[in-house]
């Protein structure tokens, strides 16, 4: 349900994008899985993830009933504990890492913990093979993302596609990605502020703010 498969970009574009997620299977290993899912997230939180999620919220979430001061000082920090405590039903839990080293160290600890729940990694094909090999495990199954077929010319340019498809459920609209890119280009928002805005719209917590910041900085220098 994290729907991380169809992130737009060439393989090299996923150099800072490693998603590890655990998913219990209904009727097979979902009994008493809540403590395991929480422990999975706690392990992930120890290895410098850039986002974690429980299917209901990520580390940055929309604020309700805010004070007008918000417009000058948002003053919020990623909240890992809220994500971990928010696991109340069997479902996918995930963590996003911005480098191979953190993802690998995290995966080694997950293997050691032996939860018995299916664990997947979503990144480029080569990144996944490499990290599985370094962790001494054989891949069980693989699902390849074929490129999006768009015969009717609906899709925007690659910069917007890369920013938008990091929420696999499509909650980061093309228009919002375009607006935030324009605001960075025009100096009306910093890349960090723009990334935080985009990240809050992804309710599963799989948006990668580090990759988004890199993409925004690259795109802001190149108008398409």
């Amino acid at each position: 349900m994290t729907n991380t498969l169809h992130r737009y970009g060439k393989a090299d574009s996923f150099k800072d994008d490693y998603i590890i997620f655990a998913i219990p299977s209904r009727g097979r290993n979902d009994e008493n899985c809540i403590p395991k899912l929480k422990e999975f997230l706690k392990i992930c939180a120890r290895h410098n993830p850039v986002n974690i999620g429980n299917g209901q919220r990520g580390t940055l979430a929309p604020g309700k009933g805010l004070n007008p001061r918000t417009h000058w000082d948002r003053g919020e920090k990623p909240d890992f504990d809220a994500v971990i405590e928010g696991v109340v039903k069997p479902g996918t839990v995930s963590a996003v890492f911005s480098n191979e080293s953190d993802a690998r160290e995290c995966l080694l600890e997950i293997i050691e913990a032996d939860f018995g729940i299916s664990v997947n990694i979503s990144t480029s094909v080569e990144n996944a093979k490499d990290i599985a090999g370094k962790c001494g495990i054989s891949r069980h199954s693989v699902e390849y993302a074929l490129s999006v077929n768009d015969p009717h010319d609906h899709l925007p340019n690659s910069q917007i596609m890369e920013l938008s498809t990091m929420c696999g459920h499509g909650m980061v609209s093309f228009n919002l990605a375009r607006k935030m890119l324009d605001m960075v280009r025009e100096g009306r928002r910093t890349p960090e502020q723009a990334v935080a805005t985009l990240t809050r719209f992804c309710p599963c917590g799989i948006y990668n703010p580090t990759r988004a910041k890199r993409l925004l900085l690259e795109a802001s220098k190149e108008q398409r």
Binding site: M1, L5, H6, R7, Y8, G9, K10, F21, P24, S25, R26, G27, R28, N29, E31, G55, P62, G63, G65, T70, P90, G91, I111, F115, I117, S118, V119, N120, T123, A128, K129, G133, I137, S138, R139, H140, S141, V142, E143, Y144, A145, L146, V148, N149, D150, P151, H152, H154, L155, P156, G170, M171, V172, S173, N175, K179, M180, T197, F201, P203
Partner: protein
């Protein structure tokens, strides 16, 4: 989804937020409104926007004065200043829009939130796609375009004649009135959703035929399609069959979801799905 006209101040912040582009400021009434036909009830505006509870009359007055002097207030772009969005209670068939478009709503049929299923993410315990088989996730409408069920039916009808097996634990399969013909429920055909995934399975020799069929049908239906294609790896964790075939077909694949094989069946025997025991 509703926008309360008594609260809306036409600030326009919500307009770019909508994944379907269904929100616009109507100059005739100076309020944001939703194009109900284009709205897929994904909840992005209601759930994803942060909110304040400011007085709408005061905010409209400030905005009016500022506009006279061409002042531009630069508010946070994801904030609705007056909490104007309201979720209305939906009935079928419109309810199906929310079920398929809002990722935090759980499908009763699969127990999975959003439009997805377990796919090969749990293949190490489900063996949904076994050795020699190929699984496909044919996703319609994503990213950012949307799809109507009538267009999905166009595809399922043609696929059904190609000797494919529809995955039974899939939300679209649950909406079929006949899996032999690929027909979907008539009452939902004109409903628009953010996306949906048709899941099928074939033997390896059918890959070229299935992909050719999918892309040919896509020419006729006005949406985008993203295909995921999966297989089980060998004992060494290698895929010497599907990946080389995709290369031969000239299919581009840069990214993958990889099941690392760490799962096992841990439920008590009486609660475990029996097909696994057979396998």
């Amino acid at each position: 989804m509703l926008i309360n006209p008594k609260k809306c101040v036409a600030c326009g912040n919500c307009v770019p937020v909508c994944p379907m582009g269904a929100i616009f400021v109507d100059p005739g009434i100076n309020r944001a409104v939703i194009n109900d036909d284009a709205c897929v009830e994904c909840g992005t505006c209601f759930r994803g926007m942060s909110t304040e509870n400011l007085n709408p009359v005061l905010i409209r007055a400030i905005r009016k004065i500022a506009s006279i002097f061409r002042f531009r207030f630069e508010p946070e772009p994801d904030v609705c200043p007056t909490s104007a969005f309201e979720m209305n209670e939906l009935q079928m068939p419109r309810l199906i829009r929310q079920i398929f478009s809002d990722p935090v709503v759980e499908h009763a049929s699969t127990g999975i939130k959003g439009r997805g299923t377990e796919e090969v993410k749990t293949n190490d315990v489900s063996l949904r796609v076994d050795t020699g088989e190929v699984g496909y996730t044919i996703e319609f409408g994503r990213p950012g375009v949307g799809v109507r069920f009538s267009d999905i039916q166009e595809m399922t009808r043609i696929l059904s004649g190609n000797g494919v097996t529809f995955e039974k634990n899939n939300p679209i399969t649950h909406l079929m009135t006949n899996t032999e013909t690929g027909d979907l429920r008539a009452d939902i055909l004109e409903e628009k959703i953010l996306s949906a995934i048709v899941e099928i399975k074939t033997t390896i020799d059918k890959v070229e035929q299935v992909l050719e069929t999918v892309y040919r049908v896509n020419e006729k239906i006005d949406t985008v399609i993203a295909v995921g294609i999966s297989t089980r790896c060998d004992e060494e964790g290698e895929d010497h069959i599907l990946a080389p075939l995709l290369e031969d077909l000239g299919a581009s694949y840069e990214r993958a979801k990889t099941n690392l094989g760490l799962g096992r069946i841990t439920n008590a025997l009486k609660n475990t799905k029996m097909e696994d025991m057979i396998k």
